[in-house]
């Protein structure tokens, strides 16, 4: 394995992110090739976390743009501070200033509200990490707009002119695949698909993130969840759910799994009525038997 990828992996792990080689490779390549990284995968497998860890790794700022349906350029890019501009105009009326000078004044940078995309581009101190979260929730139209920003890293504001990126930000996009991302955007990025972690990885994450959990319980929890994911469920529990559940069990001072506790805390893992019903007494027994089996 390439030395730098190996050290990237070690670094990420030091910051509390257990990265398998595929993830470390993707992050390394995105960094070296200066390309955005599109991360897809089930909910709760640690997509957003990648951007956070990357920001800490590079000791830089994380700028986050949360996408939602109806997101427009006013919220993503920039907006003038109209209230402040108006106020300034009212004051200026009494001063009788030169109109041209006044215009320059109220269309100055201090009247500009920087939204995430603009902020990521204009950051002076060095490249920021720009996290565009849940891009699949934004409209297709916004995707096209993003494409333009991501290829040129420049933004045109009619009143100010074109603003070029001081430093090209490192971009991480995440998607839950609630819809397919357009091919054009996909092509512009490197692509990483994260699956639910295997037993070893999940166990390591669990040990790292929930220090209060004893070794035997950690193993049972992990085995239980791994087995649970093999069942026909509408919403599979992610790592986030495993951690929640472990936290809950630690709070309840349990050091082993039993049917009663599992049934009472199943809501930490399964967040769908149908799934909870489908995981009734018998299923729990079967899962428990598997979880407590020694290999």
């Amino acid at each position: 394995m390439n030395e730098e990828i190996r050290s990237m992996q070690a670094e990420m792990e030091r910051l509390g992110y257990i990265a398998e080689p595929a993830i470390a490779t993707a992050v390394y390549l995105a960094k070296e090739m200066q390309k955005p990284l599109l991360v897809e995968g089930e909910a709760g497998v640690g997509k957003t976390e990648i951007a956070k860890v990357l920001a800490r790794l590079l000791s830089t700022e994380l700028i986050r743009l949360q996408c939602y349906e109806g997101l427009d350029t006013n919220t993503a890019l920039y907006e003038w501070n109209y209230q402040r501009q108006l106020l300034r105009l009212r004051i200026a009326e009494r001063e009788a200033r030169d109109p041209a000078e006044l215009e320059d004044l109220i269309f100055g940078r201090e009247y500009l509200l920087e939204r995430p995309l603009l902020r990521a581009i204009t950051r002076r101190e060095g490249p920021a990490v720009l996290l565009i979260d849940e891009i699949d929730r934004a409209d297709e139209g916004f995707e096209a707009f993003l494409l333009e920003v991501l290829s040129d890293f420049q933004i045109t504001i009619p009143e100010l002119g074109t603003i070029r990126a001081e430093h090209v930000p490192r971009v991480v996009l995440t998607s839950n695949r609630s819809r397919e991302i357009g091919d054009a955007l996909r092509r512009r990025c490197l692509y990483l698909y994260i699956e639910h972690p295997g037993f070893e990885k999940e166990l390591r994450i669990l040990r790292g993130k929930v220090p209060g959990v004893n070794e035997q319980l950690a193993q049972s929890i992990t085995r239980f969840v791994q087995r649970l994911r093999a069942r026909e469920l509408r919403k599979l529990p992610g790592v986030a759910e495993t951690l929640d559940w472990a936290q809950a069990l630690v709070r309840l001072h349990r050091d082993a799994l039993d049917a009663e506790t599992v049934s009472a805390t199943l809501g930490c893992l399964l967040k769908d009525e149908h799934d909870i019903k489908a995981t009734g007494g018998e299923a729990v027994e079967e899962l428990l038997a598997y979880a407590s089996a020694r290999d």
Binding site: M1, T25, L29, E69, G70, R179, E180, R187, L190, Y191
Partner: protein, 373 residues
């Protein structure tokens, strides 16, 4: 391997991926080459990971990728003919089958109209039409029905967008544009600009079951499709029974009887058996990329009486669920209070459906509006 040899190898590999139906573009090849420069070429697993990342392969293409990677990056590549891949894919769908095992017959329709209150005096003819089951319609009633449907279809065809666009005298104040406008009048806001959510035309894909068990409803449900076709720009209509046929082009909205004849000729096995799973998976495979996005509403009109192939059905429904905006399943049998969705196909499809509704009379179709609007 020399740099030139590596690039040539990469090009061959990308070609093989394309041959196997994986979308890989030239820009992906360039990315892949750049990525290979950055990784340890002697570490095969790392090359594998890097290529998968740089080629931007979605999860469902991984198996093909893995297989071809084995062939091409191990010195023992055996080139395959691309046609073979297609042949393999088609094989997996299985040959069309026509199942009829009596169960379909047992679930018969009620002899009496289940909604007899619609016949009460004092009801407007429209109200009567709304309640009357489709299978009891006379020709003139059908004509009236079709007029009603045209109105319904227009409502079905639009939805409010979540985006804000400039609108005259309606909606929230748009400060950005108000300000711009005020420049013309020396900074006085003579008129505020506004923006509101526009009406957006939905994409509609209608899938009709034209099997024997749906016969009583097919004509009117198709009339509904005709009406949709008249008012919507973007509607695609498919008929399925044992095979899937795109019938959008066969439908002339103004001439229903003629279109029906044309359809009967164009759709093989009309009034025959059903193979919902197979047909849906064919639909997904052929049209998922071009026809379905988040503004698409998929309406499936079927009684779900299908035997076997539940796995195929589940797989297709899951895929549709991931891509489409809404999935509506209309089942004429649901109008009968004795009916329970217990047919294997119906049960398999239900978890993926946003709205499961009846489709035995107009009132039930109108209930659709809440879910599309």
């Amino acid at each position: 391997m020399s740099a030139h040899g590596l690039v040539a190898q990469l090009a061959r590999f990308a070609g093989a991926l394309r041959g196997a139906g994986v979308r890989v573009g030239l820009s992906d090849e360039i990315d892949a080459a750049a990525a290979l420069k950055l990784v340890d070429l002697l570490d095969r697993a790392e090359v594998h990971r890097a290529l998968r990342i740089a080629f931007k392969l979605p999860r469902d293409a991984w198996d093909t990728f893995d297989r071809l990677f084995e062939e091409y990056w191990d010195g023992r590549r055996a080139p395959r003919h691309p046609a073979l891949e297609h042949a393999l894919q088609r094989e997996r769908r299985g040959p069309p089958q026509w199942r009829w095992d009596g169960e379909r017959v047992r679930l018969e329709l009620p002899d009496e109209p289940p909604h007899s209150e619609g016949e009460q005096p004092g009801y407007s003819p429209e109200a009567v039409l709304r309640r009357k089951p489709f299978d009891q319609f006379s020709a003139s009633e059908l004509a009236a029905m079709e007029r009603l449907m045209a109105r319904l279809a227009r409502k079905l065809a639009t939805r409010r967008s979540r985006r804000l666009v400039p609108a005259p005298a309606r909606g929230m104040v748009d400060l950005r544009r108000s300000f711009r406008r005020a420049l013309a009048s020396d900074g006085d806001f003579l008129k505020l600009a506004r923006r509101a959510r526009p009406l957006e035309e939905a994409n509609l894909v209608v899938l009709y079951d034209t099997s024997g068990s749906m016969d009583a409803y097919t004509r009117v449900l198709l009339a509904f499709a005709f009406a949709l076709r008249r008012v919507m720009k973007r509607v695609e209509i498919f008929a399925f029974n044992t095979t899937l046929v795109r019938v959008t082009g066969m439908i002339a909205p103004a001439k229903i009887p003629q279109s029906l004849t044309r359809l009967a000729a164009g759709v093989p096995d009309w009034s025959g058996g059903t193979r919902i799973g197979g047909c849906l998976s064919e639909f997904v495979n052929l049209y998922k990329g071009t026809m379905i996005d988040r503004s698409t509403t998929i309406v499936c009109m079927s009684d779900g009486l299908d035997h076997g192939e539940a796995d195929l059905l589940v797989g297709s429904m899951r895929e549709l669920r991931a891509r489409a905006g809404k999935i509506i399943w209309l089942n004429p049998l649901l109008g009968d209070s004795r009916y329970r969705p217990e047919a294997a196909g119906m049960r398999a499809a239900l978890p993926f459906v946003d709205h499961f509704g009846a489709a035995h009379n107009l009132a039930s179709l109108e209930g659709l509006l809440r879910f599309v609007g």
